[in-house]
């Protein structure tokens, strides 16, 4: 996870030459091409990437291929325990991942349909958090002074903000229709906004710290002494060096945000039931103690979230290595 700032002085002094050598116009390859070459050779990262692509495909195409996620199959439920009959949560040819306790809804279909909502919300919320966090983090770290003080304190306020209390208050005031949206689409927009808006300080703090150390580095000084303006330094000198931490922390934010959605639906601000979401399935399994009588039901959404996180982390790691070979 070592970022450029962590390298030893010897490597620092070597950095300009390395950059020169890498960008040497031997075959006229761009930086992106080089990175892609490196990434392609990283089997682990490519596997992670393939899983990410697969998940996106599942989320987009899957719902058209599976049975209805909301159809009840109560004939598959043992009424005494409210749990599925049959092994491992009622696995059968018709229900490859079994059925839910109580209602007997098909788990595979709910996972696939849930992927759509969970991934959409998690990705967009992460994107929002990263965008806000990077913007304010870079500004605070680069300019320092009173601007830094204001932004840093704002981040503290956000970090200390009792989000769940806010969500409770929100339940009463969210309208049925707003911004031309209604029903689930309004809730999705709202969830993305809440999750993204309250998660940005985590990103902001990390980026601010990185910027603080980067701005003192020689290559930044060099750019400044050549007369580069703040805009040039920010976008051409600092931001490329921040790509690695941004990618790594984004991949870590995605699973957090999937679970965040579950917490919010627990409070009544999530998507309308019976809409399936991964976090919702997991929280059903935990809060209703299904994990004790039907552990398979908790495993499936748990594994889905685990695989997603793993894939993103592996891919993110490889991507960072590819973009910044010194950290290998």
């Amino acid at each position: 996870m070592a970022a450029p700032l962590d390298v030893s002085p010897a490597e620092v002094s070597a950095a300009p030459e390395a950059a020169l050598a890498g960008a040497g116009p031997v075959e006229g390859r761009s930086l992106g091409q080089i990175a892609w070459e490196r990434l392609r050779r990283d089997k682990v990262a490519m596997t992670g990437g393939a899983i990410v692509v697969f998940l996106v495909l599942v989320a987009v195409i899957g719902p058209h291929l599976t049975q209805s996620p909301n159809a009840f199959h109560q004939e598959l439920i043992d009424p005494t325990f409210s749990r599925p009959t049959g092994p491992l949560g009622g696995i059968s040819a018709a229900h490859p991942l079994g059925v839910e306790p109580v209602n007997g809804r098909d788990v595979l279909s709910r996972i696939v349909n849930g992927a759509q909502y969970s991934l959409l919300i998690a990705f967009l919320a992460t994107f929002l958090a990263v965008a806000i966090g990077v913007f304010f983090g870079v500004i605070a770290g680069y300019f320092g002074g009173w601007l830094d003080a204001v932004i840093a304190r704002t981040m503290d306020v956000f970090l200390a903000f009792p989000l769940l209390v806010f969500a409770l208050a929100l339940v009463g005031v969210i309208p049925e229709q707003a911004f031309g949206l209604s029903g689930n689409s309004l809730r999705i927009a709202l969830l993305i906004f809440i999750i993204g808006f309250f998660n940005w300080p985590y990103m902001g703090r990390i980026i601010r710290g990185q910027t603080l150390s980067l701005r003192e580095r020689e290559f930044v000084d060099a750019a400044r002494s050549l007369g580069a303006g703040s805009g040039y330094v920010l976008f051409r000198e600092l931001l490329p060096n921040l790509v690695a931490p941004i990618i790594v922390y984004s991949t870590l934010l995605v699973p957090t945000n999937i679970l965040f959605e579950a917490a919010l639906s627990y409070l009544g601000v999530g998507l309308y039931p019976p809409t399936p979401t991964w976090g919702g399935m997991l929280s059903d399994a935990v809060t209703n103690q299904y994990f004790q009588i039907d552990p398979a039901f908790m495993m499936v959404p748990g594994l889905a979230i685990f695989i997603t996180v793993m894939a993103f982390n592996l891919f993110g790691d490889g991507l960072r290595d590819a973009l910044d070979p010194r950290t290998r």
Binding site: Q74, S82, G172, N288
Partner: protein, 586 residues
């Protein structure tokens, strides 16, 4: 809202107990008997007068308070009988007879005046506190006064200030009278007589006198909220120690006299209550004999339930008793188009009652399919089924469509259903009923709300309900005392509708129902009064403002180490007042 749970049902056909009288006071030296599944519902299991031993209770949380004047939990009211005696109390017997009120401190039930406005109780002479001093009617009055001091003792019910004259009394801590006995609506002509003056007739007053708030409190021992650390005992046991949030222990009270008290026994040497024990750990402790009673009395968790029901050797120690709750769905009579009774009836017919039962955990952990608001062994219950809930448990689509046509909504309509989003059972019910109602074209949107604010801000606020078209709302109810008033009044009486914290969420304000309540409250003849409860039940069901879901049940584990165990129908859990411990080694 009323967290106090009452009711248990003795209707289980499987209930068999071997060779014993139903009365807990039997004196014969009974040999330990083997008892089967549900044996503790209709009979006392292992009746015995053997003494000695320590009975260990586990509680997954902590009591709201051990102060008799500051608690609203059924399990605490049950525990309280070990160290506190109220004016009257519930008979310590299994089955329906447990709903009967019998004298405790008083020599008889209340004597009501001809106009129904004064109730008089005479105390038995020479009842002692644990320190040997004599209980007086002034102490009972002082205890009643404490129920007015909501600033100091916020948890208990508020029936006295609701029913008696002088409702503005500020409580004894702000009382200007030197003896702190300034409440004018309760008088004590002598030290063994207490008279209650009511604002209007209330024929159920004996149930109010059975509340723990009539357990006497000596004014010089009262320490406000801290009185709970050592309440002065009048019962067979007294406080030995109390470490808050951790443990309290009760030991024998030498000044209790069995001769005046047929409802309690002093068999075990000691009661230990361990608090904040993980719920699954409690079940394991019970099954492996590390503990004797789950104090909460709400039944075992899902994991233990599966173990118990699949193992005959464990199942014979279990009782599947009614837990006192009715799980229900309110149908609002003011939200269009449900303001038309036929649209409401369509909902009653279309609902899938089996799905309702399954959502709450099936016939054992959930309960029995309900067709009335009164639950089966409430006083006054009569069985009827207006919407074929038991004959067509998956719903009657044909009838539902007919009602929709009469209502002028033959293609169905759209409405919203409120539920508590942090209660998975309600969420499962909401999802299932959404499906069931869609069969007849009723389109339901599910609206989840956090349970902490459900009654105060959302479903219990008629304005909010109207603005957000919450035609349906899921909820539950358990009465404070086991008759039609306790069950029906707050759910269906017009005067019970409130601007916030409303419990009559169907907003029924029917003159017929309201008049029946007034009539019942003026009827002192018990059997005549009990007829009225069922009349109200029928009227409410024909108005279709409540969709009864499930008469709730829970699976209780009866420790084989205990004697004199039975499910008390009022507390809806094992009765704690006559428990004993089997001699070890047997």
């Amino acid at each position: 809202m009323k967290r106090h749970k009452t009711f248990g049902l003795a209707a289980s056909a499987a209930a068999v107990a071997l060779g014993l009288g139903a009365c807990g006071g039997g004196g014969e030296a009974a040999a330990p008997t083997t008892a089967g599944y549900n044996a503790g519902i209709d009979a006392v299991v292992r009746p015995s007068d053997a003494t000695g031993g320590t009975i260990v209770f586990n509680n997954s949380s902590v009591p709201d308070s051990t102060d008799p004047g500051n608690t609203y939990y059924a399990n605490m009211w049950n525990v309280l009988r070990l160290y506190g005696r109220s004016l009257v109390t519930y008979k310590s017997v299994p089955g329906n007879a447990g709903n009967q009120i019998v004298p405790d401190l008083a020599t008889s039930l209340g004597q009501v005046s001809n106009n129904g406005l004064t109730w008089t109780y005479h105390l038995k002479p020479n009842i002692k506190y644990e320190d040997g001093s004599t209980v007086t009617s002034q102490d009972v009055k002082y205890a009643v006064e404490r129920s007015y001091a909501k600033d100091v003792l916020p948890n208990g019910p508020g029936y006295f200030s609701l029913l008696l004259t002088d409702p503005k009394y500020p409580g004894p801590y702000k009382d200007k009278a030197p003896d702190k006995l300034g409440l004018k609506s309760v008088t004590t002509p002598n030290s063994t007589t207490i008279v209650f003056h009511l604002a209007r007739p209330f024929s159920d007053f004996d149930y109010v006198a059975a509340l723990p708030q009539t357990i006497p409190v000596p004014p010089d021992k009262d320490r406000g909220a801290n009185y709970q650390l050592h309440p002065m005992s009048t019962g067979p046991y007294k406080f030995q120690s109390y470490q808050l949030d951790k443990q309290f222990t009760l030991v024998k009270n030498p000044n209790w006299s069995a001769a005046t008290d047929p409802n309690r026994k002093q068999l075990a040497n000691k009661f230990v209550f361990n608090l904040n024990v993980n719920a699954d750990t409690i079940d394991n402790n019970l099954i492996h004999n590390f503990a004797d009673v789950d104090m909460a009395g709400t039944g075992v968790q899902a994991a233990a339930r599966a173990d118990i029901l699949s193992s005959p050797s464990l199942k014979k120690n279990a009782d599947n008793a009614f837990s006192g709750f009715l799980w229900l769905t309110y149908i609002n009579s003011k939200v269009k188009p449900l303001d038309n009774v036929h649209c409401r009836r369509a909902v009653e017919y279309a609902a899938d009652k089996v799905a309702y039962q399954t959502a709450y955990g099936g016939p054992v952990a959930g309960g029995a399919i309900a067709s009335t608001v009164l639950t089966p062994n409430l006083v006054g219950f009569q069985k009827f089924d207006l919407y074929s809930a038991t004959t067509k448990p998956h719903g009657d689509v044909t009838k539902a469509k007919q009602e929709l046509t009469v209502c002028g909504q033959s293609n169905g309509f759209s409405t919203n259903m409120a539920f508590r989003s942090d209660r998975p059972k309600e969420k499962a019910t909401a999802t299932a009923q959404q499906q069931a109602l869609s069969r007849v074209g009723i389109k339901v949107t599910l609206q989840g709300y956090p349970s902490g604010k459900y009654y105060t801000n959302f479903a219990g606020v008629p304005n909010y309900v109207h603005q957000h078209d919450l035609g349906l709302a899921i909820g539950g109810w358990a009465p404070d005392w086991p008759d039609g008033y306790g069950m029906l009044y707050y759910l269906t009486a017009g005067p019970a509708i409130q601007a916030a914290g409303n419990t009559n969420i169907g907003e029924l304000d029917s003159p017929v129902v309201n008049n029946l309540f007034t009539k019942a409250m003026a009827t002192t003849d018990i059997s005549a009064r009990n007829q009225i409860w069922s009349q109200i039940d029928r009227e409410v069901m024909s108005q279709a403002v409540i969709l009864p879901g499930v008469y709730a049940k829970s699976l209780l584990y009866r420790s084989p180490r205990l004697t004199n165990v039975f499910v008390h129908s009022y507390y809806a859990m094992y009765n704690y007042s006559i428990l004993g411990k089997k001699a070890t080694g047997s």
